[in-house]
C-alpha cells in the first residue's frame, strides 16, 4: 500500500538523516543534543498524526486511512524511544541516579517520562493478537494516547525557553484534534460516513 510505504519512508528518514549527519560531523558540536531535539520533534509529529487519522478520515471519508493509524502510532513510539535513549544512554550514560533526579526535579522531564511510559503499553498491545484478546478493553486502554499526547505537548512547552511558537502550535493542533472528537463535533463529522470503523484513537 502506497500510504504505508510513504509512512515508512517519512518515519525512517529522520534516523537516516541523523546517522549520515553524525558520520559526516554535520550535527553541530554536540550531536547528542541535535539527536534529542530532532527525535523529540518527530515523536510529537507522529503522535499528533496518529490522533489526526480519525478526524481526517471522517472529514474526507477516506476510510483506508484507518489502516495507517497503527503504523503512525508505532513510529511515534519509535521516535520517542530513540529520543529517550539518546538522552538516557548517550547524555546520561544510563546513570540511573542522574536520570531519576532529572525526572524528579525537572518538570519537563517528568512530563516527558510520563508520556513515554503511557505509550509503552499501547505499543505493546498493538498487534492483532492483543486487539483480539483485549476486545473492548483494547479501545479503553488505547485512550491513553490522549494523555500521552497532552503530556508530550506540555513537555515541549516546559522545555522551551524563549520561542513558544512551536509548542503553542502543537497545543493548538492537539486542541483541534480533540475538539473534532468531542460529542458536539462528532455527528457533524460523521455525517455521510458509512463504515462503522470509527474506533477511538
Amino acid at each position: 500500500m502506497v500510504l504505508k510505504g510513504a509512512i515508512w519512508a517519512v518515519g525512517l528518514a529522520p534516523v537516516a538523516y541523523l546517522i549520515v549527519g553524525f558520520v559526516r560531523g554535520s550535527l553541530g558540536l554536540l550531536p547528542v543534543d541535535t539527536i534529542i531535539l530532532v527525535e523529540g520533534r518527530w515523536a510529537l509529529v507522529f503522535l499528533l498524526a496518529t490522533l489526526a487519522v480519525t478526524p481526517i478520515r471522517r472529514l474526507t471519508r477516506w476510510n483506508r486511512l484507518a489502516r495507517a493509524r497503527r503504523l503512525l502510532g508505532l513510529f511515534a513510539f519509535f521516535h520517542a524511544s530513540v529520543h529517550f535513549l539518546a538522552y538516557a544512554g548517550i547524555d546520561k550514560l544510563f546513570g540511573l541516579v542522574a536520570i531519576l533526579e532529572d525526572v524528579r526535579d525537572r518538570r519537563y522531564i517528568t512530563a516527558g517520562m510520563a508520556a513515554l511510559l503511557l505509550l509503552v503499553p499501547l505499543a505493546g498491545t498493538s498487534t492483532r493478537g492483543w486487539i483480539r484478546r483485549l476486545g473492548k478493553r483494547w479501545l479503553k486502554l488505547h485512550r491513553l494516547v490522549y494523555p500521552a499526547a497532552a503530556l508530550g505537548v506540555l513537555h515541549f512547552y516546559w522545555k522551551v525557553r524563549a520561542d513558544t511558537f512551536w509548542p503553542l502550535l502543537a497545543a493548538l493542533t492537539l486542541a483541534v484534534l480533540l475538539a473534532a472528537r468531542s460529542p458536539a463535533m462528532a455527528p457533524r463529522l460523521r455525517r455521510g460516513q458509512r463504515s462503522p470503523g470509527g474506533k477511538a484513537g
Binding site: L29, L30, A98, D105, Y108, A162, D163
Partner: protein, 311 residues
Amino acid sequence: MVIRVRRSSQVPSSEITPESTYLDRRKFLGATAGIGAATFLGRGVAAEETPTHGDEEPNSWEEITTHNNFYEFGLGKEDPSRNAHTLVTEPWTVRVDGLCAKPGDYALEDFIRPSTLEDRVYRLRCVEGWSMVIPWRGFPLADVIRRAEVEPRARYVAFETLWDPDQMPERGWKPRIGWPYREGLRLDEALHPLSFLVVGLYGKTLPNQNGAPLRLVVPWKYGFKSIKSIVRMSFVRDQPRTTWSSDSPREYGFYSNVNPEVRHPRWSQATEKRIDGGRLFGYRRIDTQFLNGYADEVAHLYEGMDLRKHF
C-alpha cells in the same frame, strides 16, 4: 595572577594571519601604547603566565565561533554564526551614563584606546551545561569604570546589548524575552580584575556571533551574564533588571554564579560537557567547579551571603 599571553607556537599560522584585524580596520591596536602590535605578533609582553584555566587547552576557533547563544540572531546554536553577518559594528558607539562624573557617548575607538589590551584564557560555562576554554583579547572592565569616575552612590553597573531589528531580523515568532538584552553586575564584581571587556578572540577581531565589537566576559558566572555587543553601560543605585532573571526568576538569579551545589530546574549543574572535538560525541563530561574554578580569586565577594538564596 590571571593573564596568559599566547605564544605564536600555540596557534596555527592560519589563525594568526591578519585578514581583517582591528590592526588594519580600526588602527586602535596600533594606537595602544606598545602592547597591541607586540601582543598581536605573539611575542611575550609584560604579563604573568599563571593561567587561571589550569592546563586546559583552549577550544578551536571553529568551535568557539560556531556554537553560540545569541538569540537576536536565532535560537539554534549555529544560527548566530550563520546570521550575525548582518550586524554592523562600524561605527559603534558606547553610551556611558548614570551615576558618574564623565557620562557620554564614546566612539568605540576612544572607549578602548586608553586601555592596554591583554590576552587571557578563560573557561566559559554555559548555564545549559556545556563549557569551553577561550582565549580572549580585551581589557579590564575596571579601567572603564575608573575613567567614568563613578559616584559613591552607584552600587551596580547595568549593560545593554544593541537592539536593531533591521540588523537582527527576528525569525519566526517573536521570542517572549524582551529586547534589548540586559545584564548587570554589582560594582565590586565589575571592579574585580577578572571582569574583562573583550574585543578579540585568538588575537583576531571578535566575530559578530561572539558579541562584536565589544562584549563582557565574567568567567565565574554562567555565560549569559557575559553580555554581547554592548551599546550602553549605566551606573545605578539599585540592582538592575536583567533579561533572563526577569523572564524566569525561578531559574535565573541576578548573580548566576557557577555553582554545582545550586539546583537548576532545567539542567543539572553538577557536571558539564566540555566541548572536545577529539571525542566521539564532541565533549568530555567533567565536574563543574564552584565559581567555575575561580573561587580563590572571587569567593571573597560573596562572603556571608547565602548563595542558594542569591543564586
